[in-house]
């Protein structure tokens, strides 16, 4: 079995109706578990979302799918293990 990895995603996205549901749906449908989710209002139109996801799957494919969402303006990710090592 491939190892389970944690990744932290930072997503800037529209606050349009349904955008959060869509994001969570995409994450879970791709077999990523959400460990934590922090939603901040960045402006009247945008959220900044900080999400930690866990999966055996490669997070790169999830990022590609999220980046294709019409709601999303940017997405970045860091392997959480690497972040901890750096810290």
């Amino acid at each position: 079995m491939p190892p389970v990895e944690s990744s932290q995603l930072i997503i800037h996205m529209s606050r349009a109706y349904g955008s959060l549901n869509r994001l969570i749906g995409i994450v879970r449908q791709r077999c990523f578990e959400i460990e934590s989710l922090n939603v901040q209002s960045e402006s009247a139109e945008h959220y900044r979302i900080q999400m930690v996801v866990v999966s055996e799957r490669n997070v790169v494919h999830l990022i590609k799918k999220i980046s294709q969402m019409a709601d999303v303006t940017s997405v970045s990710a860091a392997k959480l293990t690497r972040v901890l090592e750096t810290a």
């Binding site: 549901n21 749906g25 449908q29 490669n58 790169v60």
Partner: protein, 555 residues
Amino acid sequence: MNGAQLLIACLENEGVRDIWGYPGGAIMPVYDALLDSNIKHYLTRHEQGAGFAAQGTARSTNRTAVCMATSGPGATNLITAIGDAYMDSIPMVVITGQVPSQLMGTDAFQELDVFGMTLPITKHSYVVKHADDIPRIVHEAFQLAGSGKFGPVLIDFPKDIAFQKTEAKPLSSKKELPPISHCDPDALRIAKELLAKAECPLIYAGGGVEKGNAVAEFRAFVETTGIPVVHTLHGLGCLPGNHPQFLGMVGMHGSEAANKAVQGCDLLLAIGSRFDDRATGKLTEFAPRAKAIHVNLDPAEFGKLRVVQSALGGDVAQNLVALTMPLNIKPWVEQTQEWKRVFACRYDAPFDSVFAPRLLHDLSQAMTDRDTFICCDVGQHQMWVAQHYKFTHPKYHLTSGGAGTMGFGLPAALGVQQANPDARTIVVTGDGSIMMNIQELATIKRYNIPVKILLFDNQALGMVRQWQQLFFNNRESEIDLSDNPDFCRLAEAFGIPSMRVVHRDQEADVIQALKNTDGPLFIHTIIDRAANVWPLVPPGASNSEMLTEEGVSVG
């Protein structure tokens, strides 16, 4: 102007010429506005029929099509068609009525959260919150549906917004689409090196070739390189079915030559295909000794299921032009031709009843006089069409591939025929599938749509029966349809001429009738209940473990 009128004006502004739909309470203001529009509305007899008819238009033209229904059950009846469009990447804008904004969330009459229900099966979705937003939303919906990897977009339209007064106008200038990315030079260099070194290359091409408008470039690539070709279900016709380099469909019901070639190749060029499980069989044993090049518009497909040595994103046609070069692979080509000859289909079935594979094969030879679209339903007949009908272009083959939706064929054919009035449109269906949307015979009659229906009746859910025979110890469970209605009388009741076919001697009559009848026609063809689709790769098995009619594995 109110919101409903503005919505219609915006649809006109996007070039919409026809809408398939079904009215109801929450969408009534839009239907009222439609009366003053040049857009032609086609009334189906069920919302699912409207969804698939719109798909027929979109699939046969690559133009974004529109369907419409009311809130609640009207909207949920569209969901299967939306999901089907999502699975097969079909550009479609779906408009659903919704209860007034102030009633949303109160369990109002015919209120259902269709927006929430369709989130995972749409490319994007909107609830219109203010009439001023309509021009932007409609324009974005069409852009999203018809760009990149195509897909359905939902616009949920509350009734109070439809009545809301607005000064907004359809957008006069349209936003530029972001350009599709160009070839990655490094990936291209690696791909060329792999091609130059390959001794046994094979092309595995799917629906992305046609959707990427790259059929001409694909054919030039194939003929210049000389590489043998296998197709997925949606790829059929990218290379004409009678082309010498075409080895057949790959996968579960693929040809033996195609599956042997996949297992034996040393370089796999996946072009506009996505390593779908029906094509690959057991993924770890698909093209087991091959390196792979993946050409696809959607970068999210790269590495999703198969690690590849070169991933070429962006415009498929540009990538193919850049890859085109002559190769010296004569021994491999001769080997694949030998497989093709040895494992060629046989059409000399000895029994007296109609042999569907032979009829479909002969039909394709006879339909070359003009554009002929084949709209399949789902089941054994769908696989017989894929195996035996020689398509000359992928746009002529409409089939529910990803979702595999029974009931797709008949309503899809309505949309095809209306969008292509000079073409011939034939529904190939089974006695299970046809009953799923039989009500659309009334739509054929209402608009005198000259669709031909070729029904193969084995009085059973044939594909399920076949699997029960092979994988469930022949224990038949709920597949018997021997109490089918008299289909000819049923068609006649809808005002559609019919003919019944029971003997192989009538196969030529069927072809002549399909070819020469001007109006709609329903042909009820009785076939052997025990007929199976061969070859077959058992579920979860490798493509090297094909079962043939004799029951032997030919790995």
